[in-house]
């Protein structure tokens, strides 16, 4: 039963006839216990999905902003156990899809099955683990993720071959995370022709899974460019910079500026 409900939050959301905005933040930042409050504020601000970043000491795919927020979150004392305990009642107040995004080592140390089980108990809908390779997932972990009703989201980039995109599409069950350009997070300001033609090229592939664009989206303009062809967009670094400045007080101002 739970499996059905979990599957549905992401898939249900993807069926809505609108462009989706998903927001990423590093759990434990700015303060250790801001997690629930940020999530509740984001839901009230009319966004569609939330990626809760499980901080890691060595975030290879992240630029300076998310590196700094992860480092600070760890300094604040964030751990996997603490995150789970903060989230334990989150489904009493929040109903939009929640995804945990984290690097593989902390999940491996927690125990992949124990981690997935905990996610299901809490009501997490999916995971994004950038350094868990597609083939390893397929051979070793897929059945565990499925057992606990978790959607694993895979990334593609402008360098990913058509053949590999088709393969990733075939094993994806929610959406495909489309990395906007060859870059770590927070890398770019504004998209050029190169990105637009990449977005279009992917749209023209008519994949079975919708695509959500991430990396380098920071404004209303980049959100529009990203979602011209794709189903939605994910904002991370720009939101964290907003938190740097405004703490938790003006979250809806930020989301309004993106969606207006």
């Amino acid at each position: 039963m739970t499996t059905q409900v979990n599957m549905n939050r992401i898939n249900q959301k993807l069926k809505e006839d609108k462009k989706l905005l998903s927001i990423y933040f590093s759990a434990g930042y700015p303060n250790l216990n801001d997690t629930v409050s940020i999530i509740e504020n984001l839901e009230k601000s009319d966004i569609d999905m939330i990626e809760i970043g499980l901080p890691f000491s060595d975030p290879l795919a992240d630029g300076p902003t998310i590196q700094a927020s992860s480092t600070q979150a760890l300094k604040n004392g964030m751990t996997t156990d603490i995150l789970f305990s903060q989230l334990k009642d989150i489904r009493k107040t929040v109903s939009i899809p929640l995804i945990i995004m984290g690097y593989f080592n902390p999940i491996l140390q927690y125990g992949v099955e124990a981690f997935c089980k905990k996610c299901q108990e809490i009501g997490i809908d999916g995971l994004i683990i950038p350094d868990l390779p597609v083939d390893v997932y397929n051979e070793q972990y897929k059945s565990i993720f499925q057992k606990y009703g978790l959607i694993n989201v895979f990334l593609i980039t402008p360098q990913t071959s058509m053949e590999r995109i088709r393969f990733i599409d075939s094993i994806s069950e929610g959406f495909i995370y489309m990395v906007s350009s060859a870059s770590v997070t927070g890398g770019r300001s504004g998209f050029g022709d190169e990105q637009t033609s990449y977005f279009k090229r992917i749209a023209d592939m008519n994949l079975k899974n919708p695509q959500i664009v991430g990396f380098g989206i920071s404004t209303n303009e980049t959100f529009k460019q990203a979602t011209q062809y794709a189903k939605g967009a994910i904002i991370g670094s720009a939101f964290i910079k907003h938190l740097d400045k405004n703490r938790l007080s003006k979250i809806s101002e930020f989301t309004t500026s993106i969606l207006n």
Partner: protein, 393 residues
């Protein structure tokens, strides 16, 4: 039983390529091509020629008479310190720059700890006229200043890594991020047997020249290709991998790996990965690494910048776990003392990394007729300031 890599890129349970999708095309391109390219006659010819005429190989296998007398056993030193640029690192950078050229890459990035790998990379880039950027932890830039100057002299750009412990681990993170940002024109020359498959295997193969030479050199001197022991220090493990390579599956030859215990294994300031590490993922490889219960990578410490790394290559994780190699750990003080001893008994000032291997005699005794080969991975010029401060010379 083989202790070498299998077709899937694992040594036993260790290895693999745990990389974000952004790196997949680069790493996959390398994986599909490295063995093919290394097998091309023109590659072999160019590699061998450069090792001979440019690096100065073969490096001597030197019988250390006074050291042998002191410890009543037969000690041979593999003189990687006499290579051009002063360490074993150049064997790998020569191989990888030729690989990069054949893959059509026009920009090289590297990470460095002690600066030896950075210098060796800057050197081959100068040799080939290819742009070179070296990431180096801010702390290491200070403690290995002579090598920073060398890299600049050679035309490389040295970029400080400012995150984390600002040492080798963080320089590696920055190099990986650079590669994500520059996926098409850039080749990443990793400096040790670490990183995602195929790097550990490729680097081990380029360093394998060390044990290949030991085999025939020992045959000349002792009438056997097999020493009783091969001993090397392990940071990431490339000089050890090279010294072990042709003996991996010959269990008559005992392997000893020497790690840096820093201020003491349990002092909280150590880099003794085999003792303090657990299985996990670092820099794209499943291996042993120092980490918290929560899977955060721990900041290591050693006086030696080249050993100041919280992991070991997957080959070494497997050699440790299977018991094929014996791992010992040596403190800063023990290493420094062994470095001074080698200087004064043999007239050879070793790199502090290599000094760790010479401190083996603190912990182990050998039989008078044992043949003990120690890989003298590098020379101590870069470390003079540290030695001077340590011994108040």
């Amino acid at each position: 039983m083989t202790y070498n890599i299998n077709d899937e890129g694992y040594y036993g349970e260790f290895g693999g390529a745990y990389i974000p999708e952004m790196l997949y095309p680069n790493v996959e391109e390398l994986r599909q091509n490295y063995l093919k390219i290394m097998a091309e006659p023109s590659f072999k010819e160019e590699f061998d020629q450069l090792l001979k005429d440019y690096v100065g190989r073969p490096s001597p296998l030197y019988f250390a008479k006074r050291l042998s007398e002191k410890y009543t056993t037969k000690i041979y030193l593999k003189r990687e310190d006499l290579n051009h640029t002063g360490a074993h690192k150049v064997n790998n950078t020569i191989g990888q720059i030729l690989m990069a050229k054949r893959l059509g890459k026009t920009r090289i990035i590297a990470e460095t700890g002690a600066g030896q790998h950075g210098v060796a990379t800057a050197t081959v880039c100068a040799l080939m006229g290819i742009k070179c950027i070296v990431y180096m932890g801010e702390i290491d830039i200070t403690r290995q200043a002579p090598n920073v100057a060398r890299m600049k002299m050679l035309g490389a750009e040295v970029r400080p890594a400012l995150s984390g412990s600002r040492t080798l681990k963080d320089a590696t993170n920055e190099a990986i991020r650079d590669w994500i940002n520059n996926p098409v024109d850039t080749h990443y020359i990793i400096g040790s047997v670490v990183g995602p498959h195929p790097y550990p295997d490729m680097v081990a193969r380029f360093q394998a020249i060390v044990s290949k030479e030991i085999q025939w050199q020992l045959k000349d001197k002792e009438g056997t290709t097999k020493p009783n022991y091969v001993i090397a220090c392990v940071g990431g493990g490339s000089n050890a991998a090279g010294a072990y390579y042709h003996y991996l599956d010959d269990t008559d030859v005992k392997l000893i790996a020497v790690e840096a215990a820093g201020k003491g294994i349990h002092s909280g300031e150590s880099a003794a990965t085999s003792v303090l590490g657990r299985e996990g993922i670092i820099h794209g490889s499943k291996t042993l690494l120092m980490q918290t219960n929560d899977g955060q990578i721990t900041e290591p410490y050693s006086i030696s910048a080249g050993l100041d790394y919280p992991g070991v290559g997957p080959m070494h994780a497997h050699l440790y776990k299977s018991g094929r190699a014996e791992f010992i750990s040596i403190t800063d003080d023990q290493a420094m003392t062994a470095g001074l001893e080698l200087s004064q008994l043999e007239g050879i000032i070793p790199a502090i990394e290599s000094s760790h291997a010479f401190a083996v005699f603190e912990q182990k005794t050998f039989k008078p007729d044992d043949i003990v080969v120690i890989n003298l991975s590098g020379r101590g010029d870069k470390d003079l300031q540290n030695y001077i401060e340590h011994f108040k010379l």
